[in-house]
């Protein structure tokens, strides 16, 4: 998403306030937001709790990319054979991993999805442009 800024930053900063993007600024506590874009699959109880918090604060939640939408490839451990599971078990326990990696929609309501790995840029741009129209109409 950061790379799309190259061509669109001047237009986007007129319409959007990027409030909780850790890549751009420190984030102390989360507050309410119009749209939350969430990348990645959910690997731990801690991550699931944070996702639910984001869901409760956002009017819309958008899942970005294959990990967020189908869980893969992060969820490849879900299908490991017993040998591999045994190898990774100490790490799963030590760092409190969830039993299974889950896509976002298993845990919260997802309002929109941008598929692909990497995500489909055009679908993302279409969604952003629609958001701008919707905001103007509100």
């Amino acid at each position: 998403m950061t790379e799309l800024f190259n061509q669109h930053w001047q237009a986007w900063i007129k319409h959007f306030d990027f409030k909780y993007a850790k890549i751009f600024r420190p984030v102390k506590t989360l507050g309410s937001m119009d749209v939350a874009f969430v990348e990645g699959a959910i690997s731990s109880v801690e991550q699931a709790t944070k996702l639910k918090q984001i869901r409760s604060l956002a009017k819309q939640l958008v899942a970005i990319g294959a990990c967020a939408i189908i869980g893969q490839p992060a969820a490849q451990r879900n299908d490991f054979d017993p040998t591999r599971l045994q190898e990774i078990q100490p790490i799963l326990e030590k760092f409190h991993y969830a039993d299974k990696v889950q896509p976002l929609a298993d845990l919260v309501t997802v309002d929109h999805q941008i598929p692909g790995c990497p995500m489909d840029e055009q679908k993302f741009l279409d969604y952003i442009n629609q958001l701008i129209i919707n905001f103007k109409n509100e």
Binding site: F5, N6, W9, K22, R25, S43, R77, F80
Partner: protein, 440 residues
């Protein structure tokens, strides 16, 4: 003498790639514990890759990291080719070199402009820069112009700026569209003055933390990121297949990433290491235009990693322009492997340093894999530098400083530690893949 006691914990450090935190303990004015924690969750790639087709390894292993995906593709291609005795043509190597140059431009620019510049201008975010201030206005525009030039170079040669689909074993699915070469040359040429401004900015930066340590990087004649043995600042020359045996794996029970030592000490990989060891092989145009800046290297000042990255952007632009202006790419058949089993090593320079892929292949299937990434290798050095930084700051506090630091001093300390960590440009997504670890 002051006797500061403090437990400092940083969570979710911002403006870095992925998730990391820090636990620091200060007792009687000295750091007694410094844990740099990579908190990204593992996806166990080196386990998952076993049993997969060797030909698919580059695309699968690229998913270790969105940011550095093209570097993982290059290392995995090299490892599979090395195992199956495939020698890519000079044209293939040139195209791969251009893909990596695109990655270097884009990735270093992301780090320097979006992560570091706010520190340099005492701002929280690049997005807070004042568009009415001429210098900040210029830098905002430079940010996206330079990043985009790298992206377009990677798209031209690799088909996409991340997870490039065109590079394959021994060759390319498709050659660059010659009608699109000129616009990319124009973008790179236009970005060049911006990069010279960036180099000047980091040359003038007064940040300093100096500690003599070993530096490790690959070495070749033309500062490409794909070939050569590994050399160290203590004069050792290491062939790729022997690299791993020179390092000792260290288990850290607080970090999800593996750490390593070289000769029982922490070491550094990345732009600073490369420039310290290879500055004479930079592109001649780069060398001609920044002679005074290059005199600063070799340097033991860790913040010069930022300056070294800025220089590498310029070098990647000059190298790419020289290639694109003089090369016509012609169709070549993909080569067939001469064997179906073997052990292969792919060692390249990713933007953040040495990337090592070791693959064992049996009848075209991956049997085993070991991957070392730059941030894992730098992990212990980051901790040692944080310790040095904090101890220096504590030593310079007025003698009457109370044992419980004021909130302002704590914030200053946190800020300075974050600036130091960011200067390493760590990538946690890469660091938290998987290595065989036994926890006691």
């Amino acid at each position: 003498m002051h006797k500061v006691n403090l437990d400092l914990s940083l969570k979710d450090i911002s403006k870095i790639e992925g998730s990391a935190g820090l636990d620091l303990k200060i007792e009687a004015g000295q750091v007694t514990q410094c844990h740099f924690k990579i908190t990204e969750y593992k996806r166990f790639y080196t386990q998952a890759i076993r049993g997969k087709a060797a030909i698919a390894a580059p695309a699968l292993l690229a998913r270790i990291c969105g940011t550095c995906s093209n570097a993982h593709i290059m290392a995995a291609l090299e490892a599979v080719e090395n195992a199956l005795k495939i020698t890519p043509s000079p044209q293939t190597m040139t195209l791969r070199r251009l893909i990596i140059n695109g990655l270097i431009i884009r990735d270093h620019a992301l780090h320097l402009y979006i992560f570091i510049l706010p520190d340099l201008f005492n701002q929280d975010s690049l997005l807070d820069f004042d568009d009415q201030d001429p210098q900040q206005h210029q830098l905002l525009h430079d940010t996206f112009e330079v990043k985009e030039s790298g992206n377009q170079l990677s798209i031209l040669t690799g088909g996409r700026s991340v997870h490039a689909p065109l590079p394959q074993l021994s060759g390319f699915n498709k050659l660059p569209d010659s009608t699109k070469t000129k616009p990319v040359i124009a973008k790179l040429t236009a970005a060049r003055p911006a990069v010279l401004r960036l180099i000047k900015l980091f040359h003038q930066c007064s940040w300093n933390l100096t500690r003599p340590i070993p530096y490790l990087a690959t070495q070749n004649q033309d500062y490409n990121y794909l070939t050569g043995n590994i050399v160290s600042s203590d004069g050792v020359n290491i062939p790729p297949e022997q690299y791993r045996s020179q390092l000792k794996h260290i288990q850290l029970d607080y970090s999800q990433a593996s750490a390593y030592t070289y000769k029982n000490t922490s070491y550094m990989v990345g732009a600073l290491a490369r420039l310290n060891l290879n500055k004479n092989s930079l592109n001649p145009t780069t060398q001609k235009d920044i002679p005074q800046t290059l005199k600063l290297f070799p340097s033991h000042n860790v913040y010069h990693n930022n300056l070294a990255q800025a220089i590498e952007i310029l070098n990647a632009i000059d190298d790419s322009l020289a290639i694109l202006k003089t090369t016509t790419f012609k169709p070549e058949p993909l080569l067939k492997p001469t064997q179906t089993s073997g052990e292969g090593f792919g060692i390249i320079e990713a933007p953040r340093g040495i990337l090592y892929h070791h693959l064992t292949i049996d009848n075209q299937i991956i049997k085993d894999a070991e991957i070392l990434v730059p941030t894992g290798q730098n992990q212990l050095n980051i901790e040692s530098d944080i310790q040095l930084l904090v101890n220096q700051k504590l030593k310079n506090l007025p003698a009457q400083t109370s044992a419980d630091l004021s909130e302002k001093l704590k914030q200053e300390l946190e800020h300075d530690i974050e600036v130091l960590i960011r200067s390493y440009d760590p990538c946690m997504s890469c660091a938290a893949h998987f290595l065989k670890v036994k926890w006691s």
